[in-house]
Amino acid sequence: MTQTLARTRQDDGFDLTEDERDLSAMVREFAEEVVAPRSYEADREHELPLDVVAQMGELGLFGLPFPEEVGGQGGDYMAFCLAVEGLARVDQSIAITLEAAVGLGAMPVFRHGTEQQKQELLPALLAGKALAGFGLTETGAGSDAGATRTTAVLDGDEWVVTGSKQFITNSGTPITSHVAVTAVTGRTTDASGRERREISTIIVPTGTPGFTVEPAYDKVGWRASDTHPLTLDGVRVPASNLLGERGRGYANFLSALDEGRIAVAALATGAAQGCLEEAVRYANERVVFDVPIAQHQHIAFTIARMRSRVHTARLSWHDAARRRDAGASFKEQAAIAKLVASDAAMLNARDATQVFGGYGFMNESLVGRHYRDSKILEIGEGTSEVQLMLIARSLGLGVQA
């Protein structure tokens, strides 16, 4: 079933340039014409539609926030987030595939990679011809990512990596080129004399002996997005596969997360917008007791609240992205954006499903899919509690992790 979403004319794009508007319009059209018709089946089959990914590559979406010298499109983070929002409106799985490919796959290589690593890996990643994952989370290390157990030991000119990772996005697609994993590479003592784990990041190419991508998870949502547990059993990679400085793995990852939160907030805003448009359309169409349900004040007010959430979420991520692009600090704004927008998505998905009644509970309906897909927005790339922790800390409140 192809969904034609109602066009709503509210305009939150007051701060957008003409280029940004054109980009949004292009992504919107692509999302409706190419992505949406495939979404139901991709979700049902738990399969990432690689041909759609390839077309996204041709549009330049994977290279958006990178300079042209490294094969990027020369856009900024704002442009990238607009693309993520536009896709998420119809399909969160496709949007997170893009978000993770850029934020967790390509960006760490661009930021911290050596010249050689960049030349080798970036062209394919930025063209959407390859995907890469970032493996931080382990069974015992999620919100507390510093609790990493995986180890990497230097043996001659090779790292020997042993351990396991869980919930790793884009790690097992047919076009995945590598996963960068965090691992303990030694112990150091900090200024106060406490012993600390030294965490570094190592690039593990797909197909390296001892590196097993375990069968995909059976997820509640984001089912067309590729997520696997990984096992690393004495995996040997060249010493030059160290990504970024030794001992900076955790710190580098945390900085990537700050930025990624803006994109996840944009994704959540897209989801909330998709729910809003569907609710408006359906409330005008659906006649119960002889009137369109939109004429009930309760329904109209429910939808008015949905619209308010979208507006707030969007302004919030726009601000964080603008700050990031201007080189200003954005850590707190990114945390707020992610918190507010993931709430908006979750609440709008719930309200839209209610507006749809029984039809909303069918997997074929977009709002039903958003209902399942939105929950993870409050968990991935830092849970809502972690965002609250960051915001509280920025207020000087000494909350314990």
């Binding site: 034609t4 066009r7 004319r9 003409e18 280029d19 054109d22 980009l23 319009a25 292009m26 059209e29 692509f30 041709e58 549009l59 330049g60 979406l61 290279g63 958006l64 499109q73 020369g74 856009g75 442009a79």
Partner: protein, 265 residues
């Protein structure tokens, strides 16, 4: 080779389409988009450009100020330059005025080898503008062509009552294509960024040397307008053993099948 593609901005086919009390398209009733058939015509030209870089693709639109958005989109898809005929005297122009104006604009652009248009716009559905332009400019004309081949001449196939025939014409020519042409490409990000630097020229009737009263032309006048009648409820066929016969009878009564072909059922 220089190709001009005719672009029209129309109300979104999927949006609400309304007429004003004067019988003109109500442009506020829905979003304005580039007509899909215009996009396909542009795709035909861009494919030629893909295979022969020396091809120059110029897009031409006559329309209100907002038509510039349609032209900019065409530029971001890959056209090289755009011309926008914008003139208050053109409000409510009919097919004759439109064709005269576009022909003058094509002459103004100059050295045009090929003009590509859609066979009919989704809003007006006149379908004769290309033929009228051909007449004005003395171009050869191929109407409603599928699978257009562009070389030293143009050729393609035309559907007929009983099948299809191959047609060809020497250049310069004007060709209208049908909906069987490839779907248009999406503009990519670089295309959007470079569109700003491409020339978009706005011309008035005076620039084109056209007298805004169109003295030689008869013109159509809107006498009255009416809303399309609301759709009537469908007819339900309940199967009591004779559903097939009833269906056939219904389809035949609507002339959707001929009664003769229904005999075998």
């Amino acid at each position: 080779m220089k190709i001009v593609v005719l672009i029209k901005q129309v109300p979104d086919t999927y949006g609400e389409r309304k007429l004003t009390s004067e019988g003109l398209v109500d442009r506020d009733a829905s979003d304005a988009i580039i007509d899909e058939i215009s996009e396909r015509a542009l795709e035909v030209a861009l494919q030629r450009k893909d295979s022969d870089k020396a091809t120059e693709v110029v897009v031409l639109s006559m329309g209100p100020a907002e038509a510039k958005d349609a032209l900019r989109k065409a530029l971001s898809m890959g056209a090289d330059a755009a011309f926008h005929v914008l003139d208050d005297a053109l409000v409510a122009s009919d097919i004759g005025w439109t064709a005269t104006t576009l022909a003058a604009a094509i002459r103004h652009i100059g050295d045009v080898d090929l003009v590509i248009a859609g066979d009919a716009t989704t809003d007006g559905r006149g379908g004769v503008v290309p033929a009228m332009i051909a007449e004005h400019l003395g171009l050869s004309h191929l109407a409603a062509v599928d699978g257009l081949e562009i070389g030293a001449a143009v050729s393609g196939s035309q559907a007929t009552e009983s099948g299809s025939r191959t047609v060809h014409a020497p250049l310069p020519a004007i060709v209208s294509i049908t909906e069987s042409a490839d779907e248009a490409r999406f503009p990519n990000f670089k295309g959007i960024m470079t569109a700003k630097r491409k020339p978009l020229t706005v011309v008035s009737l005076a620039d084109l040397g056209v007298d805004p009263s169109f003295p030689e032309l008869a013109r159509s006048v809107i006498v009255s307008t009416a809303e399309r009648p609301p759709r009537e409820g469908g007819r339900k066929v309940v199967d009591e053993g004779n559903a097939a016969a009833e269906l056939v009878e219904f389809l035949a009564s609507q002339r959707l099948i001929s009664a003769g072909s229904a005999k075998g059922v």
